[in-house]
Subunit: 231 residues, 2 copies
DNA sequence: TGCATATCGAGAAACTTATATCGAGATGTT
DNA sequence: AACATCTCGATATAAGTTTCTCGATATGCA
């Protein structure tokens, strides 16, 4: 809002670009393992089958400056992206819901490498409370707000059944959480200031299902087999 | 004319609208349980905390026609959405990867109510093959293409580790799959004709992490990351 | 050294999606 | 029966995103 230079450009990056950065990030890491030391946007585009202009735009959005005819030093670009996304700074999180999805999330070791650490798990089911899942003891859901408050936890993950999601979100907000990552198939409402990210499978399923039916209904596709944006 | 209009409009619905339809759908079902018999776009918007204009636009996109001053008959609208999304027509699916995520997906009873039925599970791990998960016996991954071919399976779910995702996708394509729902944190490439839906947690995590850090305030460091360039 | 070329960076154009506005028609009320 | 009002549907405007184009510059090579 204040100015337009590189410092604040970070704040104006399109959501779509933001979501593509991990794709580049992973590809860069793979290249690093292969011993590559420099990379151009065109290299990325070729390797990933994406549009070169889009790749350049996305990278440019992060504020890093490359050199014409050279590209970017690979390791430096990786570090830049990590820093840009905040993946090199730990953020604590709590998880609500110790069912199969919650357990799977708890087991994701890699989250820690991406700046997120799940500090505690909560559930309302008496049978689950006290159990240990991936080394974390399941605590009563009622303890959540106080835990969040005491430890200044920033992020809350919701992996409960749909009908519990709103009340769990409310608990998190009560405790002073800053962002919610909602895996429950439910539309939840939170105060404006809370960052909310929905991971609703049924949103995707709707899109997928519709497209699939449309394709099936349409004339049974031209038999040319061409790879997307790959030429 | 009406139906022709509606049919063509079906093909032009924005992705964003498509992904919001399940939100309306669920809210409508809740209303139906409460005995409501008619609903207006404004009702939906109010109940969900969304913009009324957007709701109307989305509903309109599906081609249903409402009545001024009345809205839509609730049950009829629910049925219309189900039909529009194809949730009332069963589509068979296969799952690759019987780890924690794969198991969780297998356990989602509700998928069937949304038109998707997972018919078989495949894994490459000898220890898992033969085990039963949620009533399905895990089969060797190599059997996948033939299974897909024999049963004309439309949809493939990938819940493998990242490094296996591309080869599994290739297997599915070989078998003649029409759409892939990819849960592995990997960028996979498929022929143009294949519908691909990525459910990459790290895309979301990037967005969430960035927003969280931005909200927390001061960019940790700005200009000192300008790589000292040797000549 | 000087030229050809790959690559970045920025701005413009095209396209998509979201928001605002307005007219028409159905309903409920007086 | 007439009127006020609510709600849809369509059009217009704005905002956001992607794609295209072009100039500038560093590098590699002759």
């Amino acid at each position: 809002m204040q100015s337009d230079d590189a410092k604040t450009r970070r704040r104006e990056i399109p959501e779509a670009s933001l979501r593509r950065l991990p794709i580049y990030y992973r590809f860069l890491q793979k290249m690093a393992v292969d011993g590559v030391v420099r990379v151009s946007c065109a290299d990325l585009a070729r390797g990933l089958g994406l549009d070169p202009t889009q790749v350049r735009k996305d990278i440019e959005m992060t504020g890093i400056v490359g050199k014409p005819r050279f590209g970017y030093p690979l390791v430096h670009l990786i570090g830049w992206l990590e820093n840009f996304l905040g993946w090199n700074r730990a953020k604590s999180a709590v998880l609500a819901g110790a069912g199969s999805l919650g357990s799977a999330l708890l087991g994701y070791e890699k989250f820690r490498k991406h700046g997120m650490e799940i500090m505690a798990v909560f559930d309302i089911d008496g049978a689950k409370i006290g159990q240990r899942i991936h080394g974390k003891e399941v605590q009563p859901l009622g303890f959540l707000p106080d835990f969040v408050r005491r430890t200044h936890t920033l992020l809350g993950l919701i992996a409960t059944p749909a009908d519990a999601a709103q009340s769990v979100a409310d608990l998190m907000v009560t405790g002073g959480i800053r962002a919610i990552w909602n895996f429950a198939p439910a539309h939840i409402r939170v105060p404006e200031r809370i960052i909310l990210q929905n991971e609703d499978l049924y949103h995707s399923l709707a899109s997928l299902s519709f497209k699939l039916e449309r394709q099936l209904g349409a004339p049974p596709f031209e038999s040319e087999i061409s790879y997307a944006k790959d030429h």
